[in-house]
């Protein structure tokens, strides 16, 4: 008999967790993991593997868990994905592996993400399976940006024996995993653990290095490095371009989350970076970043945290679990609404003026297009507004490389399979190529580029270094 429901994951009760930044779900213990693993049908065609951007052998690692071969389960995942603790927590499994799970046709899909997380955490508590590093090839690769794409490319290249240096402009490595995703969803100690593992393999990380300013990609290639991978992400926050956006109390989600996560403003004054949150927070957007911002505002003392989203609940782009957690914590959802202006008094925000929307015909994205309803404006009182409507490409590297081919949105044009750009020796992947996407997509791109760089660097026709 297969249990219809996914094995539940124990979590902090909502009323407690809104007052702290500790992680919300506790993760499976061994018994829970084995129980959940036993629900897997071990389908021969394994649709889940095709649904995974990095093609983890999902039935394989789940079978190991089922038979309590936890170390082998970890090793199986790590053949395809070096960051299981992170992906298990942040992947949108319901639209990837779990979305195509055969069991999901009748019952709950297998909790693949939860099992992946279990494996990553199990490894941290037991022996680390440090990937073997091949013999030194004498070739050097520079990675620009230490987010999911860059870290993955770094690990894959190092494993193949290349010397790898990762250049990061902030004072901590991890990119969006550090500055963007909150502690209660992805503890920073986990990110640090994964990065330490790369350093143990011999990856060098150079912090405070602004490629595009401190040094240029052209200089890296002309000097020490045989290839460069650009994984600088979608870091430039988009604003709405409506009146009042300059008012005090209006933040980009990037600023709000960076102050809180990277700079630890939630521990002000122990940490020096301040953050001001009023009683009424309004968050604009419906993705994971909007959920993260709304839940962070609550934890920083807002009495009410309201998500304003122009479509309906069904179209929310956030992970299902994040929406569920937001509901549990009492986040208000003002759906089918869109801000038209920020209202201020003496330079500070007091309200967000919104207009009601209705859904019309499907647009280019296949989702029904939101259309404003005439004469339907209304005001939400707000002293804090957080704009979470996406990010554009981080500008510094593209601006410093006039010959690099960009698309009309300013993203780098790179081959989907190899990450190759129009410039010899320069590869790119992740959000800087695709626009804002997911951690796992960026990791997939980093992995593919690493393979292509390795092939290029070890091609026999190439003259010796």
């Amino acid at each position: 008999m297969i249990a219809k429901d996914q094995t539940p994951m124990r979590q902090q009760p909502p009323e407690e967790r809104v007052a702290n930044f500790d992680e919300v779900p506790y993760g499976y213990n061994e018994e829970e993991a084995v129980a959940e693993a036993s629900r897997c049908l071990q389908c021969a065609n394994a649709p889940c593997v095709a649904g995974c951007p990095v093609q983890i052998d999902i039935p394989g690692f789940i079978d190991h868990i089922k038979h309590r071969r936890f170390a082998q389960a970890v090793a199986t995942i790590k053949e395809a994905n070096t960051l299981p603790s992170i992906c298990g927590r942040v992947c949108p499994q319901e639209s990837q592996c779990q979305g195509v799970c055969t069991l999901g046709n009748r019952f709950d899909a297998v909790g693949i993400g939860r099992l992946e997380r279990f494996c990553g955490d199990w490894e941290a508590e037991h022996e680390r399976c440090c990937p073997e590093v091949a013999e030194d090839t004498g070739r050097r690769v520079a990675i620009v940006g230490s987010g999911p794409a860059g870290l993955t490319a770094a690990g894959e290249l190092r494993r193949r024996g290349h010397r790898v240096t990762v250049f990061e402009l902030l004072h901590a490595a991890g990119g969006v995993l550090m500055y963007g995703i909150p502690e209660f969803r992805l503890p920073k100690a986990i990110v640090k653990r994964e990065i330490d593992a790369l350093c143990d393999m011999g990856v060098e990380i150079a912090l405070n290095q602004v490629v595009g300013r401190t040094r240029l990609v052209q200089q890296l290639l002309g000097g020490t490095y045989d290839a460069v991978f650009i994984g600088t992400g979608a870091g430039l926050p988009r604003f709405l371009g409506i009146p009042g956006e300059q008012l005090g109390g209006v933040y980009s989600a990037n600023e709000f989350l960076t102050r809180t996560n990277l700079m630890r403003a939630y521990r002000f004054p122990e940490y020096d970076t301040p953050i001001r949150v009023g009683e009424q927070a309004v968050i604009v957007g419906g993705g994971n970043v909007a959920m993260d911002s709304a839940r962070t505002a609550l934890r920083l003392g807002a009495k009410q945290s309201t998500i304003v989203y122009r479509r309906s609940e069904a179209e929310l782009p956030a992970r299902a679990e994040e929406v569920e957690h937001a509901h549990e914590e009492g986040i208000r959802f003002q759906l089918l609404s869109n801000p038209v202006s920020f209202i201020g008094e003496e330079g500070r925000l007091v309200a967000v003026e919104c207009i009601r929307m209705e859904l019309g015909e499907p647009d280019g994205s296949g989702r029904r297009r939101p259309i404003p309803v005439a004469d339907s404006t209304f005001r939400l009182p707000a002293d804090t507004a957080i704009i979470a409507v996406g990010n554009g490409p981080h500008p510094l590297v593209p601006r410093s490389m006039p010959d690099l081919a960009l698309d009309d949105r300013g993203n780098i044009v790179a081959d989907a399979e190899t990450g190759a750009t129009n410039l010899q020796g320069v590869y790119a992947g992740g959000d800087i190529v695709t626009g804002a996407a997911t951690v796992i997509e960026a990791m997939g791109a980093g992995k593919r580029a690493a393979r292509a760089i390795h092939e290029a660097l070890t091609r026999p026709a190439e003259p010796p270094a």
Partner: protein
Amino acid sequence: MFSITEKRRVGPGIHEYVVEAPDVSRVAKAGQFVVLRLHEKGERIPLTIVETLPETGGVRLVVQAVGKTTMEMEERFGVGDEILDFVGPLGEPSEIEAYGTVVCVGGGVGIAPLLPIARALHDAGNHVIGIIGARTAELLFYEEEMRQACDELHTMTDDGSYGRKGFVSQPLEEILTSAREVHRVWVIGPPIMMKVCADATRRYGVPTIASLNPVMVDGTGMCGGCRVEVDGVARFGCVDGPEFDAHKVDFDQLIARLRYFSESEGEAVEQYKGCQCGHEARSGK
């Protein structure tokens, strides 16, 4: 870690530092800035570069103790001490060309970032007229350095305790109304001063550059805290600036935003002054 190799008081609460940061020193140009973080629990603050000393890898900065971090720097960071993070150069460099006659206006600590621009303009063959001012005599610094960088120099204090009594906008207006042709003006100082100077040069149609110092966290285009409306469009002080066409900057918005953040800054300063516990450990001494 980045060593402080020189520290000199140039006025009450104002110090000049040289920090050993060869990567920054090697490439920084006039008009650019750095972001630093003093210690593990510190905030990131932007500071404009005064001078680079490529032969020693030094970067010269002027810091006025106005917030928690700058006060801590004044009190606890001296020669031999180390700054944890030091990033740069950031921002677009000043556009230095042979314009003809250029007026460089600096107010208060704005004189510090103005100095390298005046020098570069002078080296590029411009006739450089300097105007520097401060509230009172003891807050005025770099007069000698500016005199060397400029072909002529006007010195002002609000209270008349040194130089001429009045605001920097007065000699600027006089130059603009005179028969002399001015091709470009640079103005760096408190936002209200930049606004007044920009209003003056707008009337005479003289292109004017203001160097802004908005709130920022990362300094590389990611937080958007430094956004400022220029010609009706939100631009980022860190990656599009810090210099903008002063005639198109919405200074009133900038002033309101700075006021909003100075309130949280006030809280941090209170905390810093009230509770000195643990600071010894934090500055790594």
